[in-house]
Symmetry: C2
Subunit: 237 residues, 2 copies
């Protein structure tokens, strides 16, 4: 995504060239109608000065009209919840919707980040550091004007609080889908393996999930469509 910069010289030259061009047109039209060059030039001269002032006033005036202007603060939309609670599905749709609306937005997903860093473990310490690092990344993006959608189990309250402290606008979205429902879904077959004892440190089975105390949003996805969930979250953007 390249940055374009117009030097102020370019802006001044464009303004001058347009004013000359526009005023010459006025002079030509008036001359065509009146056949009097002195009147045409006088009108052109007045127009040139007057319109520079009027254009400025017009711009300032619109400044007070809020119709069609929206201010959006970048935010970190942090989806936390058990495996299978709907984080990635909702996160992806949320990301695509925001992108479709022309926002600068980045999507960070637990599984994808772990693909890039395959040695990240699942012990409490490693999870904490992982979540904190991702939080740091999210806060840097936010600081630079990017909305961040992050989908991470992030089971520990302390590391979520740490991420909150790094960000300016941290929106904690707790997908509170009950464990039974997540086990029923078991999209990746991981719960079955964890219950058999094949996976250690599996959140909800043999590792705790600390429920967020005061999340900005709480959604149980048991009886709600993806679109509905995304709509609820979009209200916060």
């Amino acid at each position: 995504m390249p940055m374009y910069r117009e030097s102020s010289i370019r802006s001044v030259l464009k303004t001058v060239s347009w004013r000359l061009f526009a005023t010459l047109t006025t002079v030509a039209i008036v001359y065509a109608f009146t056949a009097k060059l002195n009147i045409a030039l006088a009108i052109g001269g007045i127009e040139m000065v007057l319109k520079l002032v009027l254009y400025y006033l017009h711009e300032r005036g619109w400044n007070y009209i809020h119709l069609g202007r929206k201010e959006i603060e970048p935010k970190v939309l942090w989806l936390t919840g058990l495996s299978g609670s709907g984080k990635s599905t909702i996160g992806e749709k949320l990301y695509n919707d925001l992108k479709g609306k022309g926002f600068k937005v980045e999507y960070l997903d637990g599984d994808r980040v772990r693909d890039i860093f395959p040695n990240t473990g699942f012990s409490k310490e490693e999870r904490d550091r992982h979540v904190k690092r991702i939080g740091f990344l999210a806060s840097m993006l936010e600081k630079n004007g990017v909305i961040v959608v992050a989908s991470f189990i992030s089971p520990y309250e302390e590391s979520r609080q740490f991420v909150r402290s790094l960000c300016n606008n941290f929106v904690e979205i707790h997908l509170s889908t009950p464990l039974e429902e997540c086990i029923k879904r078991d999209v990746k077959g991981l719960y079955a393996r964890a219950i058999k004892g094949e996976l250690r440190n599996f959140t909800g089975i043999n590792d705790p999930y600390e429920e967020p105390l005061n999340p900005e949003i709480r959604i149980d996805t048991t009886n709600i469509s993806v679109s509905e969930a995304v709509r609820k979250i979009s209200k916060f953007v």
Copy 2:
């Protein structure tokens, strides 16, 4: 840094309001000079249509004039070198210069990031993972239009290559200040401690520094001012 969005309705309304305003001015001026309302209105009507077309052509024309227009691709300016080689000093000045020029730029510094994540170790494995994670962060910022200045010893070729592979425009800047000079400077007193054996895994003393094979820039800061070094790097932005 808030994002502003103007809806297209707002732009259309502004265009229409300006054209009406501007043309009414022309009508008023012409009427003041000629005292003939029919001529004033006819000129206004022609002007309104003609200027909409001319403004468009004027904009398109400027599209082909490159004067005062610069395109800047975001980049990752990666400073690598021994402790004391000048990374942080040059990195900070580079960052401040770029920020002063109005660029979107972020500064990542080894020491500062380690302050936020105090448990990051200095073993080969931990260093590799640390550098790779920072590289991922840098590439995300770059992807979102931010120039990144990064100061990290980053002693291993493989992890630097990994970071290069994540970024679009990776500029590897090797501060090749010789070890003897760095030991002489010893700003933080770390070389003295490492030589006494008080520090393990200290790059240059009891841990290797793999010299970059094909860095974009190589600067020995022994006999060069900070400003000179920054100027050399700025040419790549």
